[in-house]
Symmetry: none
Subunit: 126 residues, 2 copies
């Protein structure tokens, strides 16, 4: 499992790392039981601070995806993150962006809601 951070993208690196781990889990590259690199090792590898890695692991643990044991390491739990769940997150983010844009353009929540409903019907008619 290889991670690739972009330090100039403006996207916080802890977000990037988290996404990539989740992606790996969704794709099956990180199967349940797998040990992740220790916070120190990964921190050195990626040339970032150990706490930044720890933050990612902690958040993922809080989401029920990882388990950490002091002195031992961090491991992938049995997760039901399939492609679907991961992709749904991505889609929801994009939807949110779309909504925000629509609001900026002066559409009311009701109108946006209508647009979505309209599209929902249109899509289901295929």
């Amino acid at each position: 499992m290889k991670f690739d951070l972009n330090f100039q993208s403006g996207i916080p690196i802890y977000i990037q790392l988290k996404e990539q781990i989740k992606y790996g889990m969704a794709r099956g590259h990180l199967k349940p039981g797998t040990q992740l690199p220790t916070v120190r090792k990964l921190a050195i590898d990626l040339r970032i601070n150990a706490n930044t890695v720890s933050r990612v692991y902690s958040e993922l643990e809080h989401e029920g995806l990882l388990a950490t044991r002091k002195g031992k390491g961090t491991f992938v739990l049995d997760h039901n993150i399939s492609h679907q769940r991961h992709d749904i997150e991505v889609l929801k983010t994009e939807m949110e962006n779309l909504v925000n844009k629509a609001r900026e353009l002066g559409f009311t929540p009701d109108e946006i809601s209508s647009l979505f409903s309209e599209w929902a019907k249109r899509v289901s008619d295929r």
Copy 2:
């Protein structure tokens, strides 16, 4: 034209103001030629800084929606419907892209429809 800022929402007030002005233009409450309140007056009215108002006016001017003339004031420009219509087209295109992407990810039309419906409800609950 009345503006209503929420100082506790966490949403920057200049964003709120900008949205409300755009909303007014989209609704026809601010017709082309109308003079907006001076930055000072509006600032006092809303109990914010004149620069914050100025920022909003500037950005809207940059978007081609307002014109400011020093010593005179700020005025609503001809924002033709074709512009609005164009924006709607853009939104619809983006929605279509979203749908296509979802389908590429393996979602069924029903699932996509549900996602849209869910969001529609979420948006209208704001």
